[in-house]
Symmetry: D2
Subunit: 258 residues, 4 copies
Amino acid sequence: MANDDKLLYPVIAVNDAETKHFFDNRYGTGQSTLDGITRATNILWAGRRVVVAGYGWCGRGVASRARGMGSHVIVTETNPIRALEAVMDGFTVMKGIDAAKVGEVFITVTGGFHAIGREHIEAMPSGAILANSGHFNVEIDIPALEEMATAHREVRPFVEEYSMKDGRKLYLLGEGRLINLAAAEGHPSAVMDMSFANQALSAEFIVKNQGKLAAGVHGVPIETDREVGRLKLESLGVGIDSLSAEQQRYQESWEEGT
Amino acid sequence: MANDDKLLYPVIAVNDAETKHFFDNRYGTGQSTLDGITRATNILWAGRRVVVAGYGWCGRGVASRARGMGSHVIVTETNPIRALEAVMDGFTVMKGIDAAKVGEVFITVTGGFHAIGREHIEAMPSGAILANSGHFNVEIDIPALEEMATAHREVRPFVEEYSMKDGRKLYLLGEGRLINLAAAEGHPSAVMDMSFANQALSAEFIVKNQGKLAAGVHGVPIETDREVGRLKLESLGVGIDSLSAEQQRYQESWEEGT
Amino acid sequence: MANDDKLLYPVIAVNDAETKHFFDNRYGTGQSTLDGITRATNILWAGRRVVVAGYGWCGRGVASRARGMGSHVIVTETNPIRALEAVMDGFTVMKGIDAAKVGEVFITVTGGFHAIGREHIEAMPSGAILANSGHFNVEIDIPALEEMATAHREVRPFVEEYSMKDGRKLYLLGEGRLINLAAAEGHPSAVMDMSFANQALSAEFIVKNQGKLAAGVHGVPIETDREVGRLKLESLGVGIDSLSAEQQRYQESWEEGT
Amino acid sequence: MANDDKLLYPVIAVNDAETKHFFDNRYGTGQSTLDGITRATNILWAGRRVVVAGYGWCGRGVASRARGMGSHVIVTETNPIRALEAVMDGFTVMKGIDAAKVGEVFITVTGGFHAIGREHIEAMPSGAILANSGHFNVEIDIPALEEMATAHREVRPFVEEYSMKDGRKLYLLGEGRLINLAAAEGHPSAVMDMSFANQALSAEFIVKNQGKLAAGVHGVPIETDREVGRLKLESLGVGIDSLSAEQQRYQESWEEGT
């Protein structure tokens, strides 16, 4: 809308605040995705081959927590730099089609379209579990799944068993919608508090600067972002240092200095 | 009973099988304890100070999974060797009273009595969560907690809020009973299968050896234990090697050899 | 220089390439810092309290690897958002002065000035080891250390023992210079290859675009950065996917779409 | 010797003390094995496929530390229960021959014979690194390696490059002898102290009990073992609890109790 000059008032992109996407996406999604799948299926994570499609902030969170539960995590990516980070972080990286052949649980967090498509569904072993924790229910090609199945039925709440033509059984969770919202309680309040704080302080910022902000998209002011971080640390009883005048001076004269 | 000559028939101590206590206690309890607490409270584990009382098989499982979710894990122990293992495994080890002062979530897995006693309850910060995943509801001194409180009420299913005389609020989960059974679904089937296999194969062993086994407590035969392990690996699609004749020979002549 | 209009030709800031600072700083510094300290001291990392000053890319690498070796890692920071990330990543965060009292090994990776100052040196327990893996030998206040000591001597190569007036012994490694270069071999070639590839391809880019680039500082072109990542993955035998035309379209029409 | 009635005096098996093999083998070997390989080769561990042959105490240590450095760890085993533990601990478990095809670094810690044999050497990719941290230099079939090679030469200290008939290059470290002793400094003193304490206290025990101990092999008395653990904790400044009389009573009346 901004690009098309159709945004007629100032807007703050709260989602881009560091205290929003660093925390909510990574730590919130990481935990609550596993939580949703556990509640839906009661699977044991230890020793299980878990395929995480996408290694953005959400993907990192999910991969890290799945490893923390003892799973063997396989990451698929289309961005080579992210793929390389996943490798160096100790995860196995594969093409989607190779991952499809060996995975037991598949979690999409790409924010994209058909991260799990027809060819992946064809390759999956019987018993595979499919869940989405990305944006919308288009990350898994559900129409293809339905077309390839002869029947489906709910075997537990949020668990739909698809009987495939070749005899395999595949399990789609929560109709492919965000599994942490479908089968669990979403993000814990301890991570939503920062997101809400950013929203509240941004709204206040707009009010206080009425008439001074141009129409268009603005970032959350860095001072607001840091203030949210500072308040959160305080509430956790965690103390940090501040730069001394001398350290500040050194930091600023950095290039000339040493 | 065996010690008192009152056990009049042969019994197999299935719980001592390696494919039982190594797996069920460690991987089962580890995951399901956190699961129970998450379902009861929806807390964020990342960044939280979690005190695990006891570093036996269950304690290791709980400590390891809590760390895997991003918690800061503090272990308390009475056995110096276990305490040292916890230190070397990267956990913070403290006396119970020191842990009580800084912990946010307390989980008892000692199999003992009053691992959390009156003095610990006195020292805990307001907001502390208390859960038991050991044996019985005597690991937390609940009578002391009730006596020290002025009132209590259920704030969520399985979460009882105690208002203390000094104004603090403490939260006891599942009445101090096994939290994974109280608030979650207990162990996943993927870990109970081995426990049940041991029971079935041990029952078969007793039947097949009718009249040959003395009255008293017998261990699960090592062959049965290994067979359960072998079958489980097979079901997971994991292949392992067997010793060649030459390797077998080397292993047996070990002491003389080299 | 660019800001002062004194940069008379185009320059590419290779250090800012993602395939440079994400990898070299994080995985290279992480490993080689521990390697340098191990070679200098032969300490056991398991169970040791390691203070990492700074949680930038280098600090994350060092903290993560120290935890991987079984250490208890304490992070100090001045930036609240980074401090909060460290907390959520499961590290203990403290003020520098509190960390000084309990740490056993201190590693500076702030890129700043006197991250370990006089007051920290005063508070450290006897036996503490001090190493720098940040930028220059000003991260530790060495003049203060020397002034506070009555004598110093080399007890092993790269290990200088300072006898303090109050009887404590402190150990400064590699004269406070980059410990991975001082006492080990610097970064492994498997991480420097990407840094060098960026340099070579950037030089080629400048030559090919002679006369077209304005004087000033340019970033590494994103295509170059990705190409380096792609080549590295290929050399590791790791395959990744590319976006299909349909996925590309979905990604671009993102905002309107769903 | 004891079995053959040839042991004519009492002996204490210090190696079986918990404060010996739990710590020295696991934490000592884990760290120092990686240290030896790093010093010999300066490889980057992050993202590397490391095959650990054997999942006993040493193997656990090595696998855990390699993961801690960001490696992808593959375990091979012949004991199904240990193999299953490795799976549940999040490691990939394979047959040796399958691991040989994909590994980049191979570490033997089986205590056995030819854990890496001719068929594995044949399957390894060019560039593979072979190191032993088990007992003797028979874990890798070096005679086979030499026979299959056309030439070999030292390319760095402790690194012998074998040129294979098919053109591959394989790298044997430290002549297949214990790599932590060959290329590094062996175990850190912080873990050997407990081994030496056990030896000293066991010698004292034998002297004090002169004439009372039968000829044959005795275990380290549990009191000695715990005392070593207790002293070590004290030296680390770590406090633990002791059981109250009431807790002791509960523990002993365990079976009848609840």
